[in-house]
Assembly symmetry: C2
Homo-oligomer: 80 residues x 2
Amino acid sequence: MKAKVHVTLKSGVLDPQGKAVGHALASLGFDGVGDVRQGKYIEIDLNDTDAGTARARVEDMCQKLLANTVIENYHVDIEG
Amino acid sequence: MKAKVHVTLKSGVLDPQGKAVGHALASLGFDGVGDVRQGKYIEIDLNDTDAGTARARVEDMCQKLLANTVIENYHVDIEG
């Protein structure tokens, strides 16, 4: 099965990368663009056959490697 | 309304960042992990009130700035 993980900065944490994208969009002439936030999107192929086990393992991966839980939130979707 | 954009490498394009994550997971003891692919996830606040207009604008943003369409695919979701 496949895990789809979103890692996003917690609200309140400054996002200079998102700010840069927002400014670039404005300079390209896109108006009416408000806040821009950039995060990571990770797809992981897993051998697990049970969705619950897979979710628990991927949440463990997020805690240990994929996300910095001091400043980032993560969201796990399991498919397949 | 809010646009949620996923930018992912096209299949066949090497993903060294994803490979590094895969190796790091293996070295942390997570077995049964296959291919790992890493992409970008961008949230954009928009002033638009019409979902169709918003989608067209965000797809234009992807073409011009957010994605390198030679090697990357993008997917736009409009909410709100």
